[in-house]
């Protein structure tokens, strides 16, 4: 085994196509490090991660007998796996390799001082060499993986993910918080660009999901706890009672008299507390809205029926989790463009529901008033500017584009024009962003339809106020229109529609349970937009749809299928491999103090076991790798220094610190 021989270290410094070599003098570093003991070869390369770069390393392992590899390149997050692969292909244990991040933590942050950047790189690389001398071969921990995935969220992304995972031969549990599937898509009437009926498409998908033998659907259910790791997550779920049976549901719903605003129609209508959001919903059985039900008995056929929620808790063992928790439409604060103050100011989702409730042939009215002039304002709750827009509760503004609203607005505009050709429509925008396939068509069509487009500047927003008394229109919109060279235009209208953007949904509890994080825009964060666009930093937890950021239906579907592909790759074999970075006990040093067991908070990770040695009963600490997370609490607790985390040993850190603190002048001189 080459790894048991005297270390022969190969050191490689990547130019990263100028990204590193622009600040760090890579050749000098290579020359200097060549002086260190055990260093067999040092090289630089334009791009180590390229096939040629990797082949070079492989050749050195095979031909020069290099048995430890140190690479200075971009962040290990990006390419550690790449080089582990190269090292493995050359026949070396993948853990006999050390990665030093010279780009994100050196050249990109110290570019103004090349001398200092080079000096830092030299110390970091020499620390890498110091660690490499002490590296030991390690074997990954192979764990059985549940061929079962959990999908959180029963909107279009969650449904699609569930279906695609099941189609790969895995079992799926789908957990939906509300009593009905479909999410936000159910609230739409038609979809762009095909103009198909949204609920028809949705139901086709739901039917496939419901009919799939490997998918179990839990509605009115929420995740209450998550433990474990990739391949073996233990998920606690709480599911509420539906409250009615198939037999008595319709009758109870008819008999129920308590009403609340219907969130399906954004409060435009009332619904009962035993309800169905719309005809043809899935499941078709009504459900009790436990949050609002006042507990009073309902009289049915002379009997007084009191509905009771008896939530049941259960556990699911799954190998991976898909987070498809969706988004919320932005709710403007009171006063933004008159919202909440003027009754004639509504949001686009409101209008979509209002139009759905207005039968074909009926005149368009709002609050009993006929509508002849309507203004739509884009970018409400999107592309916000600090200092101009009122911050959210967390103090931040939504500085992102919500991507969907431009086409959604023009889609609505086209629909309005089709149904009410005499309507005067004003469209107030900053930029029209009809980017998708077939989207530009809506822009072209609405221009032909005579929709009046006005362009405002993001720093000079339109103003919406009550019209002066006596005006025939209730609302006055004022906008400085860039298309007429900044002239202020006054538009008296009957209705103002705010094209609201996407808000990240408040799922703080779930985030904490899953240990996933949010980006600067507060949507859930992927590892890297191109390298791993639907995976989170937590192995086995992937994202689908608008929980990750604004997306339209088509994009949500693609993201959901992509998430399914990742889950299938992960669980398809029935086992996952985990990195071997777990605690290991040196039995010669351990004398069974039990200090390690005391500090460990992971059940079953470490225990004292009794052995017989030379006829004596002795106690020694024993690790169960699958339960150990490698935090190292036991390492600092052990009075005998008998425990280490494999691959991250205390001795390795001591060696690295020594290298960083060392006087480098002799090394540097040789290189100059």
């Amino acid at each position: 085994m080459p790894e048991n021989q005297e270390p022969r270290i190969g050191v490689y410094v990547c130019h990263c196509g100028g990204n590193i070599s622009g600040a760090v003098q890579c050749e000098l570093i290579a020359k200097a490090l060549k002086q260190l003991p055990n260093v067999t070869i040092t090289r630089t390369d334009e791009s180590l991660c390229s096939d040629a770069g990797q082949s070079m390393i492989e050749a050195d392992i095979k031909e020069l007998g290099v048995n430890r590899v140190v690479i200075g390149a971009c962040a290990p997050m990006l390419h550690e796996q790449t080089f582990r692969g190269a090292v493995t292909r050359a026949g070396l244990n993948p853990y006999l390799y050390q990665h030093i991040g010279l780009r994100e933590q050196d050249s990109w942050v110290h570019g103004h001082d090349k001398q200092a950047a080079t000096d830092k790189a030299l110390r970091l690389m020499s620390a890498g060499v110091a660690k490499a001398r002490l590296l030991q071969p390690l074997e990954p921990i192979r764990l059985g993986a549940e061929k079962h995935a959990l999908v959180i969220g029963g909107g279009v992304a969650g449904l699609r993910s569930a279906l695609d995972i099941a189609r790969q031969g895995l079992r799926v549990s789908l957990v939906e918080r509300s009593p009905f599937l479909g999410g936000r898509m159910a609230q739409l009437e038609s979809v762009f660009p095909t103009e198909e009926e949204a609920r028809k498409l949705l139901h086709a998908l739901i039917e496939k999901v419901a009919a799939h033998p490997d998918i179990t659907i839990f509605t009115q259910a929420e995740v209450t706890g998550v433990a474990g790791y990739v391949g073996n997550f233990n998920v606690h779920v709480q599911q509420h009672t539906r409250g009615v049976t198939n037999e008595n549901a319709e009758a109870l719903m008819a008999a129920c008299s308590q009403e609340v605003p219907d969130e399906f129609n954004y409060g435009l209508t009332q619904r009962k507390v035993i309800y169905k959001p719309y005809a043809g919903c899935y499941p078709s059985t009504p459900a009790v809205d436990w949050e609002n039900y006042n507990g009073e008995p309902i009289s049915l056929n002379g009997k007084q029926v009191v509905l009771k929620d008896e939530p049941k808790a259960f556990e699911l063992n799954v190998g991976a989790v898909v987070v498809a928790t969706g988004f919320d439409p932005y709710t403007p604060p009171q006063g933004e463009y008159g919202f909440g103050e003027l009754p004639q100011v509504v949001t686009l989702p409101h209008l979509i529901r209002h139009l759905a409730l207005t039968k074909n042939g009926q005149p368009l009215q709002w609050n009993g008033r006929a509508i002849r002039d309507v203004a739509l304002i884009h970018c409400v709750g999107s592309r916000q500017v600090e200092g101009i827009h009122q911050p959210q509760a967390d103090g931040q503004v939504n500085n992102y584009c919500s991507r969907v609203c431009c086409t959604a607005t023009l889609h609505m505009t086209a629909e309005l024009h089709k149904r009410y050709p005499q309507l005067n429509i004003f469209d107030l925008h900053q930029d029209i962003r009809t980017y998708g396939r077939g989207h530009e068509e809506y822009y072209r069509r609405t221009l032909e339809d005579g929709v009046r487009f006005l362009r405002y500047n993001g720093e000079e927003l339109p103003k919406v106020s009550a019209a002066p008394k006596g005006d025939i229109h209730p609302v006055l919109v004022k906008v400085k229109d860039r298309l007429t060279y900044g002239e202020e235009i006054e538009i008296p209208v009957d209705l103002v529609v705010l094209a609201v953007g996407f808000m990240p949904r408040d799922i703080h509890g779930l985030e904490k349970m899953l240990k996933v994080s949010r980006g600067a825009d507060r949507f859930l964060l992927e590892v890297h937009p191109k390298l791993r666009p639907v995976e989170t930093a937590v192995n086995g937890i992937v994202l689908a749809g608008t929980a990750q950021g604004p997306m339209n239906i088509q994009e949500s579907l693609s993201a959901a299928s992509a998430a399914a592909a990742k889950v299938a790759s992960l669980l398809g074999r029935g086992h996952v491999e985990l990195p071997p970075f777990v605690a290991s006990v040196d039995e010669h040093k351990c004398n069974g103090t039990g200090a390690c067991v005391e500090v460990c908070l992971y059940e079953g990770a470490i225990a004292l076991q009794t052995f017989e040695e030379n006829g004596e009963q002795i106690k020694r600490a024993v690790i169960t790798p699958a339960n150990c997370v490698g935090c190292g609490a036991c390492v600092s607790a052990c009075p005998n220094q008998a425990i280490d985390v494999q691959g991250w040993t205390l001795a390795q850190y001591e060696a690295m610190v020594e290298a960083i603190g060392a006087d480098m002048s002799a090394l540097a001189e040789v290189a100059s």
Binding site: G17, G18, N19, E46, S47, C49, S50, D51, A52, Q54, S55, Q81, T82, G85, T88, R89, D164, R167, Q168, V191, T194, L201, A204, L205, S382, N399, Y400, C401, R403, D431, I432, R433, T434, R437, G438, H439, E440, R444, R482, Y485, G486, G519, A520, D521, F523, P529, K530, P533, Q548, P550, Q554, L557, S558, A559, A560, A562, A565, A568, S569, G572
Partner: protein, 443 residues
Amino acid sequence: MDNLRIDALIIGGGIAGMQSALDLADQGFQVALVEREPSIGGRMITLSKVFPTLDCCSCITTPKMSAVAHHPNIHLLTYCEVQSVREHGTGFDISILQKPRYVDVSKCTGCRDCEYECPITVPSPFDRNLGAYRAIRVPFSTAVPQKAVLDPEYCLWCGKCEQVCPVEAIDFTQQPETFNIEAASIVMATGFDLTPMETKKEYGAGKLHNVIDPLMMERFLAPTGPYGRVLRPGDGKEPTSIAYVQCAGSRDETLNITYCSRVCCMYAIKQAMLISGALPMAEITIYYMDIRTFGKGYEQFYQNAKAMGVEFVRGKVASIKEDSDQNPIVKVEMTDIGEIVERTHDLVVLSQGIIPASSPILRGGSTQAVSLPLGSDGFIYVPAPDSAPCVTERAGIFVTGTAMGPMDIVDSIISASAAAAEASAYIRENGNRVEAHKEALYA
């Protein structure tokens, strides 16, 4: 060559094709990836840095190229073209042409001795013909496979390469070869081209020396680019005034390309930022109608560029001419002030749009290999984009990336994984999966 039986054939070795291949192969499916160029990597490998993270592009592309090349479940077929596709039971019979490289890839070490010896210098399409290589060459420094290829269009057949090759890899006896693949499914990842500059007469029809396409600028900004710096191609001047003309070939009724190409706003802004870094004194103007920075982190990127001093001028560029020093003169209708002005720049980049790659696989020529209906925009038609975004009209054939319309890299990669999910489900549901599965060591 024996007939290959596989689960999925991926047509196109750009980022979308590579990602689809990797996702299928990681699930244990047997995949063949066919690429008509001598190297995989597609358009992405030619880019400098990518938005919005400004990662070095090759740092993201080369590992995927390498992973494709090393994956035990992927058969990589470069310099090959699909000739015909016939339905066969529940799968397809595909005939593939291996074009002769005149180099034995099993022997070639990619040392480039032949390239240095070759007497003929020819324009390199990898550098948008502004850089050069030789009639025999390794296509570019990070090519996969890292093997030489001889271009018969420029070869003198002098034999010098054969004389210097240290491993006797030059093989003048190679002939085009045809072989067959049986595949249970097909993923189309045939990619895009830029809208041709020649069609835009008012912008100089591609004849003005210092009016360039955006992929040229990518090469100038890349560390391995033809000049190693940003110079204008007319005379090698370092430009101090650079303009971008947005929607040059998109949203343009005169070209019958009415759609938005999605990526042009972001690449123009990105290039403007990179130029600001490379040439701090340069003034950069972007002439636009609408700025469409809609993706995750894109709006912030746009605002950063504004803060850095990139000038955004809302206006439609009516025409471009050049003065006696070959400086392009841009005539623009400034919509904010309602005036038509003429401005002279050192260099103009036309933010050209995206059209489907002129692949003989899809249309034209005598092959018509995969007959798939196209949408009115010329891209592969997807009948149900809001329920199955990667499914084409022909059962078992899926589409991904820019073959189905303009798309940026992030969207292409997600779409590629989605196509892999569709294809793998289709293969299972048809029950004609290939038996042998190898496990990947590391993807």
